[in-house]
Symmetry: D2
Subunit: 355 residues, 4 copies
């Protein structure tokens, strides 16, 4: 490990840092006369980079050596494949989740679930607990919404991804969700990350809209550190200076993450664009940059399909998007998980997934 120190540290000041290095099992030597570069020899541990970075005398860990954090890709390590029902993300597997922003009424939810399945999508996204900027916005149906999701899941066999906001609700959400979402506004809710890690379900972790890639990976590390390895990262746009799109989809981060971590990385083009007409090109861009999947907002209201200002796309547009995705992933020899891949028919498979 190679560590850069603050300038002008005198001998006695350095003692606590050197003691820490010894405690971590390293033998340390200064590389330069100015004592700004410290080389540590010894066996790394996933906590060492953080512990050194946190030391007030350390400016930067220049090279983490073999102190690999749990998210890190390393030589010879295989990509993690996360399975959600019949769908798989990572390691050459690509999948799509789609659904409405929030659960509103049962009939519409069922209709959308069936519509989504017809497009070949086997994961339904819909919020029961909604994180809203204003306290006066609809906060979701809560527990009633979860019950509707459970009923639609039982009826159709579709897998469910839904968000949890509060560590006190993780258990209840985990009973219904096949895949638990941590939203962009919860990406630094560390008690929640720890609680959700223990729920024994795959996690969908959205990047904070103001988070660096390193911060994003360390949020994932909170989940991984609980022993839960089934984490799917989701790039959903970062905040920029231009209001042409709601956020800026960071396709460079997607491409970087594909090599920096063994975890799958998907893209949310709906929240990045904030406009229905740009969802398809952004979804395509994400997949072309290497994303292992998509999560997309859809609606089933034909009247609003014509209008701008909505970020949800129609089921017809989801169909087109799915075909696009098939074309794109096949260029790379990757496979798109499709609902129709299931050998069993809807009716019978619908009985299975719910215990």
């Amino acid at each position: 490990m190679l560590v850069r120190l603050r300038q002008g540290l005198a001998s006695p000041e350095l003692d606590p840092l050197l003691a820490l290095c010894e405690e971590l099992g390293y033998s340390a030597r200064f590389l330069d006369e100015g004592r700004r570069l410290l080389e540590l020899s010894g066996c790394g541990d996933r906590t060492h980079r953080t512990r050194l970075e946190d030391h007030p005398d350390v400016v930067e860990v220049v090279d983490a050596g073999d102190s690999h954090e749990l998210h890190a890709q390393a030589d010879g390590r295989q990509d993690t494949v996360v399975r959600v029902g019949d769908a798989a993300f990572g390691g050459g597997h690509v999948a799509i989740a789609a659904g409405p922003c929030s659960v509103e009424d049962y009939d519409r939810l069922l209709r959308l679930a069936l519509g989504v399945q017809e497009c070949g999508v086997s994961i339904l996204r819909a919020g029961a607990f909604k994180p809203r900027t204003s306290p006066y916005s609809f906060q979701g149906l809560g527990v009633v919404g979860l019950e509707m999701l459970a009923a639609v899941r039982a009826e159709t066999g579709i897998s469910i991804v839904t968000e949890v906001l509060d560590p006190r609700e993780v258990e209840r959400v985990a009973e219904v969700a096949d895949w638990i979402q941590i939203g962009t506004r919860s990406s630094t809710n560390f008690p929640l990350l720890t609680e959700v890690g223990r729920a024994g379900k795959p996690i969908l972790l959205k990047r904070g809209f103001g988070a660096t890639v390193r911060e994003f990976l360390l949020s994932a590390e909170y989940v991984l550190d609980t022993g839960n390895e089934e984490v799917v990262l989701c790039e959903r746009g970062v905040r920029g200076f231009d209001s042409t799109t709601r956020n800026v989809l960071d396709v460079g981060a997607v491409a970087h993450l594909r090599t920096a971590t063994h975890l799958p990385v998907i893209v949310d083009p709906s929240h990045a664009a904030g406009r229905a007409d740009l969802v398809r090109p952004l979804a395509r861009a994400g997949l072309a940059a290497g994303a292992d999947g998509l999560i997309v907002e859809v609606h089933d209201d034909p009247s609003s399909a014509k209008s701008d200002g909505e970020q949800a796309i129609s089921l017809e547009e989801l169909g087109a998007l799915t075909r696009d995705a098939q074309d794109l992933v096949s260029l790379d020899g990757r496979v798109l998980s499709m609902e129709s891949d299931r050998s069993a028919p809807h009716t019978s498979s619908a009985k299975e997934p719910i215990q």
Copy 2:
């Protein structure tokens, strides 16, 4: 109220929106032939702006009319004064909180509390629960840290501001804290904002480093909506594109907030700068822009005072900062709350607060 709608909405599509307007008690009329501008006449309510903004056909509430949200400054309304022990924020009152980043050991904490008081500062900041980007960083002493804070408070009579991260810990933190901090990483933790609002203590709400001013005010609105009016807003720097300083202290937001809300607004120069040498100029800039107070990180380790790379300032520097603050606020006829203002001596007042 004046509302701008999406383009190209036909008659039947508009019915749900018009029904909502009626339900809210407004009579609506279109201003233009293209039906893009809707004027609503009637009596506003604090929830109406959000409810209209949330409607999918609405692009923007151009003018919220008399639909004032709870944080909003309105004609003739007095500024809210938030009192924390002997200190007061807002309405011409300026105060300072200072202390270490986190509670580490009792003796040091006591020494710092006494040192801070000697500088005239009557509020000690120190974290028992720490939100850390990495799971491998020191997460604070937790309950043990709270106990140390309670003991120092009993010993010195100093007021305590400390952070809470988890809705399940609000009650415990509220027993010790005179002022409960919601950190920048929790600014969109809505369950926590609601829970903390109900704790019956003044709240210190830090701006999310990626939050707009509107989002910041709506986070405050979550607290205010619980009936708790004692909210102090804190600008602590927003994330920018340059790493010269850790964050960019948004003094324009401070100046704007001073007229847009009746709530007091303070500045955290330590987290904005990320460097001890810039804390003093940033503190001065914040006060000159109109801030009602400061929250500052201090340390008591003379050896590290010489070095760069630390954002905590020494007690000597805090003393200089306090004198600066006195000079600056007196230019405006404002008053700085000083520890020495207390008529009772330390020993006797120290017995009181813990009952």
Copy 3:
């Protein structure tokens, strides 16, 4: 046209604005009693939106009506196709330009030109005048570099795109370049935009790394306003808060521009990534989002190909990228301009282009 005014303007204050509206040929009427919304009826002109936006009483032009600026896409208008030698951009035509960052020596430049052509690329990019952040950086070979470009062009028949920095050098650059580049650092150099517009050559206009999409289009408008319609827009990444990639490739802007303007839009993945290993995924993302082409940095130094830290890719990687591009554009029924499309052999065609 629909215009929103500042609040609280009294009658005599409004007279200059109303006089301007009349002068522009509009009849104006206020939509609301508060006199904040002004509807203008009459025949639009490309300058009207700006002229109204510039008026101090105007907050916003809500709807520009038929006051189309020159860059704007309008109903029934065909996409502009810009031709650079044998390559074409826009209207279903996709092309690639590739080459070294700067012209350094003739032999290397010739080798790269031939290598690039072998990959099917018919446009060579290389800088003779380099805009450098530091005055102590290599500023390009200047006129000598232009001469080398002219010689390589004569030798190989390849088309040349190269940057101009100074209005006093436009004429000289235009003698050599088939396509004149305005770099990201010159995007608000308005005298240069005007001068280059008059040079009678196609223009490659890079987006300023801190420019909004609207500002980008108005920079193009400076060129278009000289009567030169051959402008290719280039998204090359905007500045963000994370240093994982040098810039953030704004694929949402690419997708938006494809519908907002009739001008072709290409992508520069090299400057967006700042890292060779991310050039290919970003190039793919750009094309999948709808970009009409690419401009890519290549080198011919096999030793540096193995290392990180370089943003230039090797000729082998350019070959792979070109095949990727063919696959991607064929999914949409678009056509990639390839050097091998030329019926005439290199040798003969090389004689032609240079008068």
Copy 4:
């Protein structure tokens, strides 16, 4: 000097870099076995940091040693004091420039010059050449505007600061201006920076709204490298993600620059705020952070003074601002240059300045 190299460079690859180090007069040695840290011993030169940073094998110059660039503050070096007429910036001297956005008509310009002088301000700012985002915006009166400025200068004795956009106009502007402005949109117009440096006049260099502090200083370096040492830096707000203010005034950059460079640093609160009501608090914040002066937009139109949406303040407000500035700078023992300091009366001094 301490230099960090790319990872994995083998021996022959390093030869060109080692040759460069030798050429620059350094003896080089590797600090670590991995050959990533190179220590250079020898005598620095202002160009060396850039030349090493530009090398493709170099990741970072960790420590520039004594390779000081011209803008850099160094031990024992005095602050540069830049004089514009009777006003002085830097080294404890603070001054204000004020005036309209652009020159529009002579009578108004004269009235404003006299009004500004009455407030104690001895420098008039006004644009004859205006950089405008849209080609259809008023581009300034150009040469006619310069003539008006010259006439007002002759009439009142006020000093003139005005912007130049085009290297071909530098000479003409320099004939009239006491202080030549390079605007935010020209901060990377390197031919202009070089040309203006040679004009023999003090320079006002505005920070690019998307420029890092390092880039800002290197733009100044272009001027300094021509031998012109009279450069005043101006922080005028950087682009952020929130539209509450037009830009974010980076007071941390001001505080940093005060120690990093010997050049004076002023603040433009008008362009940072974009709103007249925030100009005063931002001006105060800038001075409190250590700025050596202000440049402020004023108007003389009493009717518009009441309205929001304008960034220019009235002459009355300028008077208040000037008194604020006096109070603030006197707290630090600094001196505000005031028009009334001039011993000679207006009439006589007015004859002098024009050759």
